[in-house]
Symmetry: C2
Subunit: 179 residues, 2 copies
């Protein structure tokens, strides 16, 4: 069975700072014509970073779409063609004030594959060295140190909702902790 | 430290079939004015469904934003105010032709909290009973049965990219398998 859809036309609806929106006309495998609403977004990186004390760096940030403060691993968008591992090191240092002397690729994830093309690359960082935090002008976040048990307890209690954080945790457990 | 941003204005950019796009003006905690691009999307459900033979139902679907066939657990959007557990049962049966006689809530996830408000609710289903598949007119998918070891191997090899699938797998392992 062929599953592929063929792009016939693409209409740009909005070009923004973070997202671009397109409505495309496609030919489905059954020959029917349909539309696809696609949010195009740059790549991003997320880092589960282990401190010398064995705890992990978490960030609490207000996330406007949910009107709530969310607990996440450090993350950020790739600048242009930046290699995601460079993004991971840069965002970790800018947001937390820690430089990673060791960084390991864990995997990647597609946040919501029906309508956005974003890819988030997941890394594990260790051998952290204190430098200094450099937040963007309008960036506000609180840092916390948590043990893996505390992070897993948050998940168990339904308080760890951020997808990249859960995915990084999954990969950390499989590829680092239980190796 | 106060992290909350205050909404000042909201401009509707696009109202679509799947996504609505808004550009809002907000007051940041530091008093500065900034904009937030927000994709508003309905709720959705995703199901890790265990067959009587101990394998799990996977779907291969063409996902237009990635121009690729993605392997995922069955999932779908809530119809209006539909309870996500009803969505989970309905989508599982429509897409796979299996009715779940037991379904357990695992957790929820926020796909990409910086710009979309989507929430995906994650469930584990068992005691499956064969009924019949009812795909939407333009829906095309291939079903596969995979063991948990095969699914984890896919993740290990970087072939399991869908975030809701990785998150459901994380919760299944923590809340069902290792309980």
């Amino acid at each position: 069975m062929d599953l592929k859809e063929e792009k016939l036309e693409s209409q740009e609806i909005y070009k923004g700072r973070i997202v671009n929106l397109y409505v495309d006309k496609v030919k489905c495998p059954n020959g029917h014509i349909s539309t696809r609403e696609v949010v195009r977004h740059c790549k991003a990186s997320c880092v589960i970073a282990e401190l010398p004390n064995g705890k992990f760096i978490m960030e609490k940030q207000f996330r406007y779409p949910y009107d709530d403060v969310i607990t996440e691993f450090p993350a950020g968008k790739c600048d242009g063609d930046e290699d995601p591992i460079v993004t991971a090191r840069r965002e970790l240092e800018e947001e937390t004030g820690y430089k990673a002397n060791t960084i390991v690729y864990l995997g990647k994830m597609y946040p919501s594959c029906a309508y956005t093309d974003e890819i988030i690359y997941l890394y594990y960082a260790k051998d952290l060295e204190k430098t200094s935090q450099h937040l963007d002008e309008n960036e506000a976040l609180k840092l916390e140190e948590m043990s893996i048990e505390e992070i897993e307890k948050m998940a168990d209690q339904g308080k760890l909702d951020d997808a990249k954080t859960i995915c990084a945790l999954y990969y950390y457990k499989n590829k680092i902790l239980n190796k």
